[in-house]
Subunit: 223 residues, 2 copies
């Protein structure tokens, strides 16, 4: 990446790191073995974003929908999320973990990150969606017991993930062309780039392709 | 299309008919001249869906964001929406127009369609988003004066577009890879197919490509 100048960069990048299980099967491993192979790509991507001066990065960890999977997989993706947050928590980053904290499926180690936690110079905001659900996120706006919400008339300010800003570019690994519940409100105007390779096969040029494509797109915000 | 058998078809198709203005410029016409060229593609697509037995079809007409454009364009896309609804209102279809009816920018001719209106055998549900806004749609769930909503805890049932079902496949013409506010709740799990050609250059094979791609995708609903 170093040396290449982008004319226009996204402020906020969303990452859907899909294909861990398909990667494992392709390598003759049990499906749950794929998740830990996603850790080092995540750190690489973080470092590339830091170097470019990207302001915010959101990783799709796991969802409430994903919890329907067999327990071996559930444990593996929970563990990978805890590891990922640990790996970034001694770097320059302002970390936030968003998801249903009230559930036993939310890893207790991550509860301190339910409020944004700044490490080092906090040069980049990094958000992890962990035990996240789009319904959980949006239904928060309807909660009759949230007194601070009672006079709120704007969905953007009253969802559970309201601390996460608008996403400019979503990059999805693993070939699927769908959002799968990723931050529906923040993704309204996001440009969507799909990499066919599985996430454990992450290569720096994937990110490069996405950014090069992104700078050819106009920004209209629906206008 | 006739003769080709699809193994698996979407129940509900969303259509983002983009590129009308770029098409007009490419043909040396004023931008607003592009919209009426989108009418006949819409009828063709409706007929193809009817023939295939698709259950529901939603067209992205115009949005509150689009209203920022010059008045000549605004008048042209309003007129095209009125024409489109008229053209389908003597066919077999159960028509619904969704958008902010309370605004003068909502074409008064379409107010009767604010409730679903069935023509002929009503073989297919056809929805038009007209003066639609994703914030308008979602904020409806927060409205303190809607007594029927007070005990509702589920966003899906309390948005303004709650009569529109989950979208399985979104096809966008005009090359852009973004949702631009199209039914954020219903599009959560939708597969997203992009056609590079502009909407006025619609060809039946575009639709064929999208359906052929769709049947190769799995359906997990996030699981």
């Amino acid at each position: 990446m170093t040396g290449h100048k982008f004319r226009r960069l996204p402020n906020h990048i969303g990452v859907i790191p899909d294909g861990n299980r398909r990667w494992a099967v392709q390598h003759g491993l049990p499906k749950e073995a794929g998740y830990e192979k996603g850790l080092s790509p995540g750190v690489m991507l973080y470092e590339m974003c830091l170097e470019l001066g990207i302001q915010e990065l959101t990783f799709y960890g796991f969802t409430q929908d994903n919890n329907k999977r067999p327990s071996a997989q559930r444990e593996a993706f929970q563990k990978a999320c805890v590891e990922a947050v640990k790996m970034l928590s001694n770097r320059d980053a302002a970390l936030l973990v968003i998801g249903d904290y009230s559930s036993p499926l939310f890893p207790p180690e991550l509860i301190p990150f339910a409020k944004r936690y700044t490490f080092g110079k906090g040069l980049i905001k990094v958000n992890f969606l962990v035990n996240y659900g789009w319904k959980w996120d949006l239904n928060h706006a309807l909660h009759p017991l949230a007194p601070e919400k009672r006079s709120v008339k704007n969905i953007v300010d009253s969802i559970a993930s309201s601390d996460i800003s608008r996403v400019d570019l979503i990059i999805r690994w693993g070939g699927r062309r769908r959002l799968s519940g990723f931050l529906p409100v923040q993704s309204i105007y996001a440009d969507f780039y799909v990499i066919d390779e599985f996430w454990p096969d992450f290569k720096p040029e994937h990110f490069h392709w996405a950014l090069s494509w992104y700078e050819t797109q106009d920004v209209t915000l629906g206008g």
